[in-house]
Subunit: 462 residues, 2 copies
């Protein structure tokens, strides 16, 4: 049973009046800015006008803004945040007790909303700017379904159309995710589909394909740019998304400061990087400004190791090569993780901001295999109550590893990790684990070489 | 968009130090006590010793105690509560705005935990007393799966065996619920099964039956009483469960008092009655003591209308007739709701305490049809963000009906309802609704007569 003598509560909730009023733009504090996005047609830095054909103008401006440190959160977005935020900062007393570690473990829990993850933080922001611009609706892609659900919720609240291209294998395997989106009034199309030119092209080249995020992005971009009054929105990777997700780190920092807690290690799972980037933003800002030091760890699946085994190069964000190019750690836009991979975080690339920080040695990256991830997930669920998303469980795995290291060394480190969401829609993967049927897969260098070959063909990388 | 000028926050969270330290036993304030439980063999009031063969001794004592007003919450249970409580009291600003009602709407949200409902409040209490008594494990039944999940979580935390008999149709239709329980280490058996004598008997009489709660209870009781070191636990109906669930109402009352809010109408869905009973307990206590008045509304499905169309009589709690008899509003232990019924709350009887209060005219009861319930659920999800459980949505339906009445009359009533849980595992039902395939069913008087006939045969009712 848990320790009760400590003064830190199990859960620290801020008051609504203590919630952050502005997002923090980490780029403003970076001396060396991330490389600019490139126009795929000209291979030149993309302009605001060009980007505004795909994204709402205000979001395009946020995407390109690497100098303004704070951007005010619109009051309508703040009101929406109040429906599910502030998110609790949880002291993992029961996990500490179970591990018998001298480490103090905290996690910021972003799963207390129907989308089941942190994605809603950016979804409402993006939907808000679309509404403000007078648009009819937005299009997007979704893989596991968290982002699509979040966007559906935001659009239902604001009365916007929402068209989601859902990776076909996920559409078929996760009918309940689909129904949640439909309950919020979204149209959901399995991707690749016959409804777009790029979808038809992909289907012709790869008949029977079960789709990928890269394909779904291409379809969603085409659907947005070919209809009057629509724009495309994206749930990760982009700098604007990391900006909105900074609310995670800002709230965490306010809560920690309130109780005089300073984390030594900050851990987050990394797919496209928005959750990790949002969590670490204000802490990394302090580090960049020389005010404090922290040890940051990005955790990715061994089966999709963009930071630990990828290349730092310009790459397309999508399979159809219609999106701007971003300089990032990438496995190549043609990379698709092995079929046995259950744990999300399957995007081929990584936030350009995080890629840049990693390249400068400001952050560590680790890859973990999925059976160890699910072991951590199960153990965490049993003592802390929350059934974590497989994605989030990557961070749990490394937090436990770090806490066990403290047990060996006797160090009383303070560990903070991001618990991005819940696993209620991932029970097929949990079932596989419960039945002892889960396996690991690490791509060989030869397999990775195929994706890298594509990178070499991009003119700007030559 | 929502009103922002009000002083009441969107969500009122108590501090951990403000959480209730004792459960409230409403029976202590009832002048006329509910009729005693009867031993099914002797038809005489059951004794503590007899009841202790089925339940842990301390829980049996709580079951029979109708005089002690407050029972201390053990510190271990309080620690567990801190992992997911206090639950927020939410001001439904967005719903009010959408309905354009002068009413003020509040809901107590109990869904922020992995079991997805309030059930965990009693699960941890029951598991704790089992552990304290030195038992190896507990057995139970589950229908929709919320209770089984909650008990699995509590047992995993305390290191107790947990054996769940899951109604067969639910076991087959909700494999994900099953996997959550297995992730928490529980054994889950579809009921009726060949593993118990009563299960074999039911299977012989009704080959191919898809089971019922009443059958699953009989199997779980047999499994508990035929093994050394095991006891049976139940998630609703019993007075001990309502005692533990009083934490819902107590927290609500503390939060409301803190902001000077007094509800006029208090609404809860009613299956076995534990959530409604827990929510209203301290308010009903005030009413019984003549200190305040409130209008209480129990909401049940039109397809399983135990309060609105049932009889107030002694009845068995289970199909196998091995449990004590309880005097309650009931449709007869043989009653099974129509196959098209999606919304939970399918138990044939009702808490003896609530039945008694209803019989004395201290509470109103309404039945609602499921398509109207899902309309309310969808509308609520779209403006308040939370995807509600079908069970909880019965309360939402009537809260909206009451708020719309206020819109007509101009009354500025304060409406409080219990939002017992989330609907993440109910997407088959939502899908049916989304596809326009949901239908309603109201049993005819002739259909109800079959269940009532069984009641007439019980000696004590003659």
């Amino acid at each position: 049973m848990a320790k009760t003598s400590e003064k830190i509560p199990y859960k620290i909730y801020l008051n609504e009046s203590e919630m952050p009023k502005a997002w923090y733009n980490l780029r403003a504090d970076m001396k060396h800015k991330p490389a600019p996005l490139l126009n795929p047609e000209t291979m030149q830095p993309i302009t605001l006008d060009e980007l505004s054909a795909v994204f709402c103008r205000e979001l395009a401006a946020q995407e390109l803004d690497d100098t303004t440190p704070y951007i005010e959160i619109p009051s309508e977005v703040l009101d929406f945040y109040k429906m599910y935020r502030p998110a609790p900062l949880v002291r993992a007393y029961c996990l500490e007790e179970k591990l018998q570690t001298p480490a103090k473990i905290y996690y910021k829990f972003e799963g207390n909303n129907t989308s089941g993850s942190h994605k809603l933080n950016s979804a409402i922001a993006q939907a808000y700017y679309a509404k403000k611009q007078g648009l009819k609706g937005v299009t997007t892609e979704t893989g596991a379904g968290q982002w699509g659900t979040a966007l559906s919720m935001a659009c239902a609240y604001l009365g916007l159309d929402c068209h989601v291209y859902m990776v076909k294998c996920s559409y078929e395997q996760k009918p309940f995710r689909r129904e949640v989106m439909r309950t919020y009034g979204a149209d959901v199309t399995p991707s690749p589909s016959e409804t777009t030119a790029v979808g038809r092209k992909i289907l012709a080249e790869h008949p029977g394909t079960s789709g990928s995020l890269g394909c779904a992005i291409s379809e969603a971009v085409e659907a947005a740019t070919s209809q009057e009054g629509y724009r495309y929105v994206l749930g990760s990777v982009l700098s604007q998304v990391m900006l909105h997700q900074s609310v995670i780190g800002l709230e965490t920092k306010i809560a920690m400061d309130k109780y005089g807690i300073k984390p030594d290690v900050i851990i987050g799972c990394a797919g496209g990087g928005s959750n990790l980037g949002g969590l670490i933003a204000p802490f990394m800002g302090e580090k960049l400004r020389g005010e404090a030091d922290y040890h940051f760890i990005a955790v990715e699946p061994a089966s999709c190791p963009s930071l630990t085994r990828g290349r730092f190069a310009y790459d397309y964000c999508d399979t159809g090569k219609v999106c701007p190019l971003s300089k990032m750690y990438t496995l190549g836009s043609g990379f698709i993780p092995a079929a046995n991979h259950s744990g999300g975080l399957r995007y081929h690339g990584m936030s350009s901001i995080l890629s840049h920080l990693y390249d400068e040695g400001l952050m560590e990256a680790r890859s973990v295999e999925q059976t160890r991830v699910f072991q951590a997930a199960q153990g965490f669920a049993r003592v802390e109550g929350i059934l974590p998303a497989p994605e989030s469980s990557h961070a749990i795995r490394v937090a436990i590893d770090e806490a066990l290291k403290c047990k060996e060394t006797g160090e009383e480190k303070t560990i903070l990790f991001g618990l991005t969401g819940t696993g209620y829609f991932d029970m097929v993967a949990y079932g596989k684990f419960n039945d002892g049927l889960m396996t690991d897969y690490i791509p060989s260098d030869e397999e990775l070489a195929t994706g890298f070959a594509g990178l070499d063909e991009i003119p700007v990388n030559k």
